[in-house]
Symmetry: C2
Subunit: 176 residues, 2 copies
């Protein structure tokens, strides 16, 4: 569904693509579309909701003795293979988002949702409130940095190596 939508949008442009056209391309009616998605923007973020659920589940399941930031990094690791198998799609999607301020706003809202969900999962692991909020925020910042590097990487190194290098850079910048 998202793939059909993205191919159409990449072909015609986001503003020129209607919900009816996206639905047809995916073999659905417009009415069915709105059963799955609240609005046109959401078709680009359905996989992000699944990504959030995936990393939050991985954070809950991470070994209990991991330090907060280590647990967050481990949780992101559960998602990287999925992205590596869809790199071209992720690049096309990001290109559409970066070109539309309203899509950027929606993306920021999803990232905030991810950060809040990770803070809650860390609290449930027994991490104190300031540490939970800051480990989630710092981990998400390192992941976003690594993700952007991965999207732009002409040599095609995998996402996990970029995320780990983001965490390394974060540790360096905090230590000095």
């Amino acid at each position: 569904m998202q793939r059909a939508a993205l191919e159409l949008i990449a072909d015609r442009g986001y503003d020129q693509t209607t919900v009816a056209e996206i639905a047809v391309a995916a073999g659905l009616t417009e009415r069915t579309f709105f059963r799955y998605f609240a609005d046109k923007r959401e078709v680009l973020f359905a996989s992000q909701d699944r990504f959030i659920a995936l990393v939050v589940d991985a954070l809950i399941a991470a070994p209990p003795d991991l330090a907060p930031l280590e647990a967050v990094v481990t949780a992101f690791g559960a998602s990287t293979t999925w992205f590596d198998e869809r790199r071209a799609l992720a690049q096309a999607r990001q290109g559409v988002i970066d070109a539309h301020p309203d899509l950027q706003e929606r993306e920021l809202a999803k990232i905030a949702k991810l950060s809040t969900a990770m803070t809650q999962a860390l609290s449930d692991r027994g991490v104190s409130e300031p540490q939970a909020a800051l480990a989630a925020a710092a981990g998400v910042a390192a992941f976003r940095f690594g993700f952007a590097q991965w999207l732009a990487d002409a040599d095609g190194h995998d996402l996990e190596s970029h995320v780990l290098s983001g965490v390394d850079e974060l540790r360096k910048v905090i230590a000095i």
Copy 2:
């Protein structure tokens, strides 16, 4: 202007307050309102644009030998007295934002703008790209955490002490 708008909104509720009413309360016409603000939401974020300009200027002017994160923290320090003098107003404003998803989205967009502007200012100071992006992201996360603690602090400790304790917590969570 923002004070007049906030008092009206606190009194009637955000959804029940029209742009025309806000303009009248501030001694302006509706037409003049739209010369200053793109939409109704923006009246709540005018001071945030000034805040961004203030801390980015302070970051550019910070002593050149400061490490990236130290420079970011110093820059936020230029804004804390201004907030301490407007604590009740800041609390009322945050209450309105937290109750409205569309205002929360606008706030996240402003925070992203702040982070991008700080990354650029750090680059202009000669900080390498990964370090600039991560020092800005980490500093903004620590500031946001400190700001939330300051808003909720019944004992009324000043914003700077809360921001510095946010940075301490960040250092701790990264170190382990």
